[in-house]
């Protein structure tokens, strides 16, 4: 126990904290500028000076730790004088252009000067001149206003880990600059903007369009982009989102955001949004009324169901839609149509991998808290770059490294290159041997605990010698051994698994090896998730083999619960998975498809094949925000409300259920409401008036969500395993080693997952388009040299099924012979080139063996992002 006295008030503390924190905890305010709770202590601005008895000079409260018996005063004449002096000094160069500055109203300097500062300055000299820099597309920098508190630099380096900006020069010339002096060329998380106390670095997005006091509303909701599920605060003026900011203390992201979350919201107000239902008449999509459109859907689905049976209809659900939307959709397919033909793009990796891992370790094996990563001592990353797929999770890995934890990666991970990674970079197509080698070595060093007999019997069969691993994978023996040592001695390790490994040949066997490693080191598994509600959609039963609460369809005892709740008899066999649906459409067994918030024609590999399949349907309904590639070929297109315009819940990759709140209003219907209308018209009425009604049913029907209410969720009490009953693991393990065949091409095609984009939604957001305006072929400098191309050149990439011409982007942080292309830009998606085979266990596509031919093509003319047809506001 420590007792300190601050301004005659006695404060008792459990453990030593700073004088500033102690004072604030007791309601005593001390002015600060360089202090920020999210940042390392700095003690630079001297504004927080206090008097401490028995200490000779004034002390900075933000750095001084409390000690028992300390007597502190925060408001004396001497202190007041010093504060005034410091502020007067800061104003020597500060331009005081508050009337013109967007920060006015929420500027810490303005507030402090108003409260403590001098009303006039005594300096006669001229102020320093540094013109405002508008060279960057997103961040505007005004260094005349900078007070060099270094909060932005400490944020960028110490928290974000991007180290993109630094204090340049010194003394009165000190200012903050990105490396190039103009463009930031950084991760564009905007977290530096959040912490700048003045208007020195700001977002250009809402520049001069509103002041903090002019916002009409401020709503806390969840980011629509990835599976991390960051809390965001959306600020609104005149029913338009003006700004998205994070909130200190929020779960998961605690005051931080990534580029997509902060700058990607503009799709909401994009004028390309669909506003009215469209019906195809004489081959053309024409505007119609809701009544007519819903009537058409009802009539066509009814006809087809009547004629070809329920199983000729299939539905694709959306990882961007809420739990409520997805629940209603699967219920519609199962109850109204009468089929388990409901699936989603989670099938391209996440779903199969999660099921595989849960079969071994039990339901919820991947439901681990993201903030726990920074507290672990070893992080093993496999199958992708977490810093681009799930940026805020990526920060946790960086934090772990900063705290002395070891970062192990399979292959090089460019977002972790400054975090002393121990990388094992095996030769192409030798990951399996390497993983087998790791399992072999770990099991030699560790006892098998006997707690999981089926997994252990698999582990016992795995044996490869170190020599073979070294030889085949072409790695250094030392590296391998230090890797094993770190893994085997870890006390609190985590394993992070990304899609690249799930979408490779023999994926299920690799997952078995990873599970074995996890078992041997007693780790926790995190599955990277690219979409905000990928987990929720699975938990809602939008999978051909799973009912809400992830209960397998074929177990009659489990099925009965749903049959009772919905008053139907459900088919006793699973429905078609995503890829089986495409196949079925192609060969004619699937006749109608209902697609909610998904773009399969673009988002699935071998898009030409998907196009052909969908073209073959008798009837295609698409429910979406925009005229996507898939909507263009639909028979009926129904406009939906976006994430910002509705209530509902998302379940993130930790399986935390969080509340989405309506930010702005817009005429239209939520996805669940449109589907309810269709269902009602088909004779099965759904009794919901609000998303909350839907959730009330979910919490009755799903054994996982039992008794959960919106109130519980609002209170943050919806963490795994809720109040529900998870299924246990320990099931029989079956896996597939793949055919082991690899074509011996020189270059292979891989999927680029850029930080600034996500599916096809981000291309409707002008800020993200400015950051990453067009598709590129990302190649290493070695490849560039071999092809004799430089930045600005284009190459033509051809596979057996298509070809694309793309400008090259030489990525210095990346080496190898893979050519990476993203799947975000219209007409330029990597999936148009990708053939795949399905993993027989996971039912997900393997796409790591796409051999390509490359030739140099015409020089590329940079596209002007300002004239971008994708972005209209």
């Amino acid at each position: 126990m420590i007792t300190v006295t601050i301004n005659e008030k006695e404060i008792t503390l459990e453990k030593p904290i700073t004088v500033l924190e102690a004072a604030r905890s007791a309601g005593i305010s001390i002015p600060t500028l360089c202090y920020h709770p999210a940042l390392e202590r700095y003690g630079g601005c001297r504004l927080c000076l206090v008097e401490v008895e028995k200490m000779p000079r004034l002390q900075t409260a933000c750095t001084l730790m409390t000690a028992d018996g300390m007597i502190v005063r925060t408001e004396t004449d001497a202190i007041a004088g010093v504060r005034r002096g410091i502020l007067e000094f800061l104003l020597i160069n500060h331009p005081l252009d508050c009337p013109y500055c967007d920060k006015a109203g929420e500027c810490e300097l303005q507030d402090l000067v108003e409260k403590y500062g001098p009303t006039t300055g005594r300096f006669k000299e001229k102020k320093r001149k540094m013109p405002e820099s508008l060279e960057d597309a997103i961040i505007v920098r005004n260094m005349e206003r900078c007070i060099v508190c270094t909060r932005c630099v400490r944020m960028c380096e110490g928290v974000q880990g991007a180290s993109a900006i630094a204090v340049m020069e010194r003394g009165g010339h000190s200012h903050i600059e990105p490396f190039s002096g103009g463009k930031y060329d950084c991760e564009y998380c905007g977290n530096c903007i959040s912490v700048c106390p003045v208007g020195a670095i700001m977002s250009r997005m809402h520049r001069h369009s509103y002041r903090p006091w002019q916002m009409t509303d401020q709503v806390e909701t969840i980011c629509p982009y990835c599976g991390v599920g960051c809390t965001v605060t959306a600020q609104v003026r005149d029913d338009a989102i003006k700004r998205i900011i994070p909130k200190l203390g929020s779960p998961v992201n605690n005051g931080l955001l990534c580029s997509r979350g902060r700058f990607g919201y503009e799709f909401v107000g994009n004028r390309d949004r669909l506003t009215r239902p469209l019906i195809r008449k004489n081959g053309v999509l024409e505007e119609s009324t809701w009544e007519e459109a819903i009537h058409r859907v009802t009539q066509k689905l009814g006809e087809i169901k009547e004629k070809y049976g329920s199983s000729s209809v299939a539905g694709i659900a959306s990882p961007r839609c809420t739990n409520e939307d997805n629940y209603v959709f699967q219920k519609f397919m199962r109850v109204t149509i009468g089929t388990h033909n409901i699936d989603s793009t989670a099938r391209t990796g996440y779903a199969g991998a999660q099921q595989f891992i849960e079969n071994i370790f039990g339901q919820g094996a991947t439901a681990n808290i993201i903030s726990g990563i920074s507290r672990s001592d070893v992080v093993f990353v496999v199958g992708g770059d977490p810093t681009t797929v799930n940026p805020i999770l990526g920060l946790q890995i960086r934090a772990c490294s900063r705290k002395g934890g070891a970062v192990l990666t399979l292959g090089k991970v460019s977002g972790l290159r400054y975090f002393s990674p121990h990388a094992l970079d095996p030769a192409s197509f030798t990951e399996t041997v390497l993983l087998e080698g790791i399992v072999t070595e770990l099991k030699n060093r560790k006892e098998l605990s006997g707690s999981h007999s089926s997994l252990e019997s698999n582990i016992k069969d795995i044996a490869v010698s170190v020599e073979d691993v070294i030889k085949e994978c072409k790695i250094r023996e030392d590296d391998f051994h230090s890797f094993i040592t770190l893994l085997s001695e870890a006390s609190n390790p985590v394993l992070i698994i990304g899609k690249e490994i799930i979408q490779s040949n023999g994926a299920s066997y690799k997952l078995l090896l990873l599970s074995a490693i996890n078992y041997l080191i007693n780790g926790r598994i995190y599955l990277l998730s690219e979409r905000a509600n990928e987990q929720g959609l699975l938990d809602m039963g939008c999978a051909s083999d799973l009912l809400p609460g992830s209960r397998p369809v074929e177990v009659a005892e489990l099925r009965r619960r749903y049959e009772r709740a919905w008053h139907v008899t459900l088919p006793d066999k699973p429905g078609l998975t995503l890829f089986e649906m495409i196949h079925g459409a192609k060969e004619g067994s699937v006749r109608a498809m209902y697609v909610m918030g998904e773009n399969p024609l673009f988002n699935l590999p071998n898009s030409e094949n998907v196009k052909e399949a969908l073209g073959n349907l008798d009837f295609l309904v698409v429910q979406d925000l925009f005229m996507t590639e898939t909507a263009e070929s639909a028979d009926v297109v129904l406009p939906a409300l976006s994430w910002a315009e509705k209530e509902g819940t998302f379940t993130n990759m930790e399986r935390r259920i969080q509340k989405l709140r309506k930010v702005i209003s817009r005429a239209g219907k939520e996805d669940w409401r449109i589907i309810s209308d269709v269902s009602g018209n088909m004779g099965v009425s759904f009794p919901y008036d609000s998303a909350e009604d839907v959730f009330a049913e979910i919490s009755k029907v799903s054994p996982l969500h039992r008794d959960l209410t919106y109130d519980d969720i609002e209170e943050g009490e919806a963490l795994w395993p809720f109040k529900g009953e998870p299924l246990r693991g320990g099931m029989e393990i079956s896996c597939n080693k793949g055919d082991g065949a690899t074509e011996s091409g020189k270059y292979f095609l891989a999927i680029d997952r850029p930080l600034f984009h996500s599916g096809t939604l981000s291309r409707k957001s002008s800020a993200l388009m400015r950051l990453c305006p067009e598709a590129v072929a990302r190649i290493s400098s070695t490849t560039a040299a071999e092809l004799s191309v430089t930045d600005g050149d284009s190459i033509r990439i051809s596979t057996r099924i298509g070809s694309l011409s793309l400008p090259v982007f030489i990525d210095e942080a990346y080496d190898g012979s893979l050519i990476k292309v993203s799947n975000n830009f219209r007409g330029k998606g990597v999936f148009s080139l990708m053939e795949y085979s399905l993993d027989p266990v996971l039912k997900s596509p393997c796409m790591d063996n796409v051999i390509i031919e490359i030739e140099k093509s015409d020089r590329h003319v940079q596209r002007d992002p300002k004239n971008d047809s994708e972005v209209k506001k």
């Binding site: 380096e157 630094a166 204090v167 490396f179 210095e812």
Partner: protein, 154 residues
Amino acid sequence: MLNETAIKELQEIRSKYPSARSALLPAIYVAQREFGWLSEEAYEAVSEVLGVPKAIARGVGAFYAMYKHRPMGRNIIQLCTNVSCMILGAERLADYLKSHYGLVPGGTTEDGRFSLVIMECIGACGTAPAMLVNDEFYENLSEQYIEEILAKFT
């Protein structure tokens, strides 16, 4: 890009320090020598070899006035004009550099042979006036002596 020898030199410097960042100052000197001044390429080269983010490398370099932050002539004259040197005629010498070589403080001769930097005391007060040309000291300067010295540099 840096040549093999320079890369080796940087790696050697790196090995003498406990962390990459502590090796920045000497490493930046090497890059400056190789590139002539601290251009973006110079910092990028340091960043690449040491594995330190490039903005950090530039931030460290930018703090110090003695690095070359602008392109400079092949030889750098650092002339002291602080008290002792001033009393013993440094300003006259500066005028001489201007009239005979066209060199103004901070400037470079047209042929790129010399740049002139004015210094605040180079620790040669007892033998003032004094200057440095590149890494060498010259004391007790006069106009004629300067001419002799500069003739040695091309």
